[in-house]
Amino acid sequence: MIRALRCLVIFAAVLCANLANAGPVEDGFAHWEAGEQDAARAVWEEAADTATPSGVLLYNLGVAWYRAEDYPRAVAYWRAARRLRPRDARLTHNLARGRAALEGAGNPVAMAWGWMELATVGEVGLLGLLLLFIGGLRVALRPRAPNPAPWWITWAVGLFVLGLATSGMHAVSTAPVLVVVDAPAVVRGDARVDAEERFVLQPGAEVRAEHRLGDFVLVRSGDDRRGWIPVGAALGVGPGAVRYSADRN
């Protein structure tokens, strides 16, 4: 009980900290309005580096990179933003525009779970928690009440939904989406520079990272082909992608 309360307090504190930390979006937009694209992007990127970035911040970074005509980076940020704002019509439109600007990027790799196209992991987790709370509390407080079946069903559905959310979070954190940027990435059969070349991913190709070995990342493309690419060849945005970044050894 004490642990649960402590976690709730921490969650509330994080929420309050987020409310208080709403400045960088506005600060960057002030530069943006003044036509200082690089400065705006720097403000937003600094904010994105210091904490878990919000969907709005990632969306704005995508717009900034799109304006700089770096479409692969724009897609990378919009793709990351979509995980946090799946029902944002502006974002969906921009992501489609960004993908349309790419040449030969191939099919993007799908979301880890289909429901992520509609809801975020956090939303599903909260729903599961709510159902678990309602069902569990009723059953716990009145264990001998007549006809407890609906409450047990609510409880069980809550547990299932929470399990889905946990599974989604695990997928996002362990197998994030990376986007090839800057130059075509040669996909090799092994994590060695002299391993056989299997195919080439063009800038903008959206792939799923599966494992890191030294300076190479094992990726799976949208058409289900696998191979190793150098760590710096693809950009991943979000907490799960940190382990696949070039600066993390």
Binding site: C7, N18, W32, T52, H93, R97, G122, A183, G232
Partner: protein, 558 residues
Amino acid sequence: MVSTLWVLCLLVASAFGARVQVSVDDSQLEVGQSTKLHVTVVLSGGDGRVRGVPQVAAPESVVVASLGPTSFTQTTRGYTVTGVRFDYSVKALVEGPVTIDPVSVVVGRDTLQTDPLVLEVLPASAPPETQIVAQAGFAEETAWEGQVILYRYEVRSLVDLHRSRWSQLASDSLVRPRDGGPVRRQYVIEHPDGNFLVDLTLDPVIVAGSGDLELAPAVVIIEIPTASSARRDPWGLMGRTTRKTLATEATTLKVRPLPPAPEGFSGLVGEFDFAGEVDETAVVVGDSVNWTIRVRGDGTLEGFSLPEPIDTEAARMYDGSPVVSGGVEADRYHAQGSYARVVVPTTEGALALPPLEVITFSPAQGDYVTHRIALPEISVKPGKEGSGEVESFAVEPSTSEPELDEGQKVHDAYASGWATTPSLFWLLRGAGGLGVMLGIYPVLLWIREAVQRWEARREARNAPPPATPSQQLAVLPADPEARLAALDGVLRAALAKSGAVDEGALERGAAIDGLPFELAEQVRAVVRILERARFAGEAPPDDLDARVRAVVRTLEAA
């Protein structure tokens, strides 16, 4: 790691267009050793994109392979730079000097070139004689007061190392420079007699005192993963290690004091290069010219500033904020600084100012050196007067797209919103706590009830069979009322048993009517006696017990 040092070095240079630089983690390699080579492109606004991956041409004595590009955006002290860094793996095969040819990088429509890079490949050192060897000491035996030198911590091992921790370098005469800290490198040398791991840390320090500086032996604690733990825990989460503590030998550094300093000594000790450039060579009176003086050397720039600006009749001067960085690269300490001086010409004509003079101490020459940085010639024209209007030819910044159909535009950035999102870690930890409370507790409750039901069934199954009516008659209570109730109960039980019905569901009248006539009459008579004795207060006959026994036996027999 993005080569921060190079980025900072190129930071100011980016104001003059895209710049490219080549660097290497280790300029000295042993045969069989690999290192990383970086081609760093710093872009300024409007340069366009870097096209393709630059090709690095190298002789056959080394093998070069691309590891891919990494983009970066870096903000330092008010400057923001963006760029791309291309990483390559370089493996030395043959001993001797190796020259990497200039690398060409295509940025937009321009082709930029790096300087050539020289690597020195040394013969492969022999593997350590014992399993692990630790060494620590200065790279040089002598140093000058104020010089920056490197203290090397090195572990060579034939086995894999989990961790190594060195004791801190403790001496009042050694001070760490403000810019740049220790650099650690781990690499494997492929040797015919067996590959071995080198764990090297280079710690830059400023020598603050003079005389013989004696340093106590350095101590390193090494953790080696045990083979058995790797088998037990393939994920490495609970791996076990064995510890080994090694000590190096004590070292002595001879520190020479600086000779008497000339007037105007800048305080810089090391080999330094100075270069200056201006952003405009033709201006009008009153316009400003940015004169950038770049300093690079192997000493610290801590506390250094340009000589005080002195206004003349020809120009006024103002100093900007310097940008200084430093660190260990290619086995040497390097510091670089960019010092901005704004020159505002006040008279027309060719602007000629006396060169800046900076006096440094060169450890290689053992003497003071005067560097002169001349201001490039600037032509100053008369200023415009009267109109009071400023004509700007700067390109208006724009964040909008070119005119497109509505469906082809992308939506603009959001003006406001949260910058961060709550971490799901805390949410799911909270869910874990609540899940324990609300998810597990009902399950425990259900389990408890199920266990209770199971125990009740088990008790019922294991309970001794109920006593027969005859057995019940053997233990009648002595109290008269209780005795009458017990006799009534026994009779009722016997009736239920004879009718094969549950005692609780027995209807006594119907059960008696179902008996043979004579027996039914006997039972009715006994029942009447019992009821009168129990409820009407009549004294029971003395043979009541015997009559009940007889009826019960007959009922059981029936």
